[in-house]
Amino acid sequence: MTSDAHSSPHQTRLNPFVFPSDTDLRFVLLVVSVLGSSLFVYNWLYHDFFASQFVDALRRCMVSSPADYHGPEAGAAADPFAAFNQTAAQHQAIERCIEPVERAQFLWIICGVVLILAVASMIYWAIPLLKIRRDNLVPLTEERAPGVGAYLAELCHEASLSQSPTFLVNPLNHSASGVAFGRRGRRYVVLNVGLLVKFYADRPAFRAVVLHELAHLRNADVDKTYFSVAVGITFAIVALGPLAVSLIHYLISAGDPRGPSFVFGMTWRVLALAALVYLTLAAVLRIREVYADVRASAWDGPSGALWRALSTQRRPDGGRWRALRRFHPDPDQRRRAISETDGLFRLGFWDAFATGVTTMVAVPMLDFMLGLLLPSRLELWGSMVTALLVAPLAVGVVGLGAWRGAFVALARGEAPRGAGRLGLGLGLGIVGGAALSLDAVITGLSLEGEAGTSSMKSTTASLAFSIVLAAVLLICLFYFLRWISAGASAWLERITTRRSLRLLVLLGLITAGLISTVWLGALLWIFLVASTLPLESLAVLTTLAAAPLTAIIALANYLLQSPLTFALFVGLWMFPLAARLGRGRTASVSVTNWAFLDPSTQPLTLRRQGRFRLSQGLIAGMVGGLAFCVLLLIARFWWHSIPETVRSSDQARISFFLGQVVLAVLLQVSTAIVVAARVRWLGVLHSLFAAFVAGCVMAVGILGLNLAFGGTIDPSFAWTTFALVLNGGALLSLPLSGGVFAMGSWVRRPRPK
């Protein structure tokens, strides 16, 4: 065992295979980015081939639809929604008319994507045969390499492979290396002649390399790898190639003065997307090697022959950017991963960023496709459905990183850190992806085409709107990932088995996915609408901006009464605090071998972050709620002292009701702030819980006293009361108690003496 291996600060290596690997995550990103880009490419090719038919159909529909909307009229400022509705009605009429053409377009694009998948599958299927033929690979037999076959059988057994691969020899490659390849049901491992020589001259080195190749099979990354390669090749040939030809054709023949600008906009985005696909592919290939090393080192030992072989390697030339383009990781990185696996648990900032970019590459085209497929009356839902499909995917990838990060931090006795950074990476990726999206170039062209100051104003309004939205997105994602990490920390202390860990991670990600579906889905949808709204709708936006109070009240009313808002706020505190259940049994978690890569008798103790203070939150909530009820009772008596004629008007009744809601919200916020200031761990979540308890008591108080003083209750009124009180309280409590908790943590932070 070498000294470097011993220099690791930790005695035991954690098992990175208890979580889904980065290979899986990057593979998903690669496929999503290729499919998202391909949708665009085939949409563009449709327009290139069938432009005249499409334009004719559109003209016919424009003529037969109601009169166009030319922006807000004088009275529109008073009722901006009327203008919006008018635009929407006209838009829907055109959409209905053009539906048959859109169906054909949908089929064309789907055929393009099917073609990509079919060609990629064929390449994936053919790669083994081509490789065997190109490299003159021959079967390994006893005559060709005496004694090797029996030894390989032993290694396959050691690697616990359910089915041994076919071993081949490459006599024309003298390196002491090998390759695992193949397709489903037919796996091969090639041993180069240089490696066969090692069998007789340096058996441990031979064993290390073969175990590395068998580890690829055990990690089940061969299909992903070769399908990734096939997808990359297919994307270049079947999508980028035709797109390039089409763009040149457009540039030469269109005669559109905006042609060069459009082609330039398309070209840099296509190049950026191609770079994204290439870098993601390279990242898949690099990380699989690291995981294979780690798996092999579990059989070979952390300082076995594999580690020694890596030690003899010099670092490849070139800087960081060159390293990103390579298909093999730096030997230093490989050695570090073998010595200490902690790095494999932490998702990097750039992985989160790439997830964000990929999300926004796919979102506009998915939305577009659903728009083509759905009837015009449901088209608006298409955008929402797209966002809802993609938001959990993005959160799933990055959220898993937060879970893994929390696990390794707690296992090492540290507090989880860096989850917020992942959120920022994801958010910046989403913002960057929106600009990179090929769809953006079309939108840009359409806006550019509308000359005049109204266009300028709309573009400026759209830009300002996007900046505000991006800031909101970044802040929300920063805290959301921290919330996921906090939830993970709370729950991880309860794990006892590998199965329970997987179930908890799944449960946590489903919860995060559902919650993100509500808010991130809505934000993505707004992002999407803002970037693709036609000019007329931007004018409506400007109108809405001219009547901000109306717009804000409408939005607040919608948000506060929405059951989704209620579910979101309850989910925020309920998931992490539910870990308290049964916690008495598991003060410290001891688990055995599954958590470690090497056989270990040492139990894994996850750092205890702090203590739950549910009773404190409950009592504070009850006290706040009852205090409100007392105040409301007094207010009720005061209200009844007012003359009947005054209080029986609708305006007075609404004011009194809203006054109760406002008071309830303020008292909830006060309760939440007190709890946030007192509870040191998960203070914000405890404060939300306290606000929830208080809000429930208050809502019951409002309804009960209303009934007691001669009022009536119906389900609609009851829901409105509950929703306004609880959602309003939570909405205000969250930022304020967050601020108080942050301040408290800052005051309490340990200072150097």
Binding site: E143, P171, A176, S177, V193, K198, V209, Y226, L310
Partner: protein, 162 residues
């Protein structure tokens, strides 16, 4: 000499040289010689490069077997030339046999059976064999010490006058 006979002879002679100077390659000699005779140039040009999806380490070893076979082939061709000038026959079968008998390993069998044998190589011819072997090994970028070892081993395998 027919190709097949030459291949067999070269392989048999080269095998002995590999045993001497690269014993770790001896067990897979059949595999290497089979690949060599299918495409000698490809085998000689083969590098220790790792593939895109391979292990990722340049732990390439310079295989000596292809070099040994190539050098041996040169020597056998020289010996065949010597035999053809010294033996007045047009029968290719007989020439093949005579070339074979120029190597000690096969000559001994002939002597035991009392067969008619060609005259062994002279000192001058042996020196020429050594030069040819060294020259070819140098062309193939074999390390000088290994080239010397190979040349000596080849010379040692030939029957000489003294």
């Amino acid at each position: 000499m027919s190709d097949l006979v030459e291949y067999q002879l070269v392989a048999e002679v080269a095998r002995d040289q590999v045993d001497q100077i690269a014993p770790q390659e001896a067990p897979i000699f059949p595999l290497l010689s089979e690949a060599y005779f299918q495409d000698p140039d490809k085998m000689l040009e083969a590098q220790g490069k790792d593939e895109m999806l391979g292990f990722g380490l340049e732990v390439g070893a310079v295989l000596l077997t292809p070099v040994v076979i190539t050098v041996t082939k040169e020597v056998v061709e020289f010996v065949a030339g010597v035999v053809m000038t010294s033996v007045q026959t047009q029968s290719s079968g007989l020439i093949n046999e005579f070339v074979k008998k120029m190597f000690t390993k096969f000559r001994r069998e002939g002597e035991e059976r009392g067969e008619k044998l060609p005259p062994p190589l002279t000192r001058e011819q042996i020196r020429r064999v050594r030069e040819i072997a060294l020259e070819k090994a140098r062309q193939l970028e074999l390390a000088p010490n290994q080239a010397g070892l190979l040349a000596d081993s080849l010379v040692g395998s030939l029957a000489t006058t003294a």
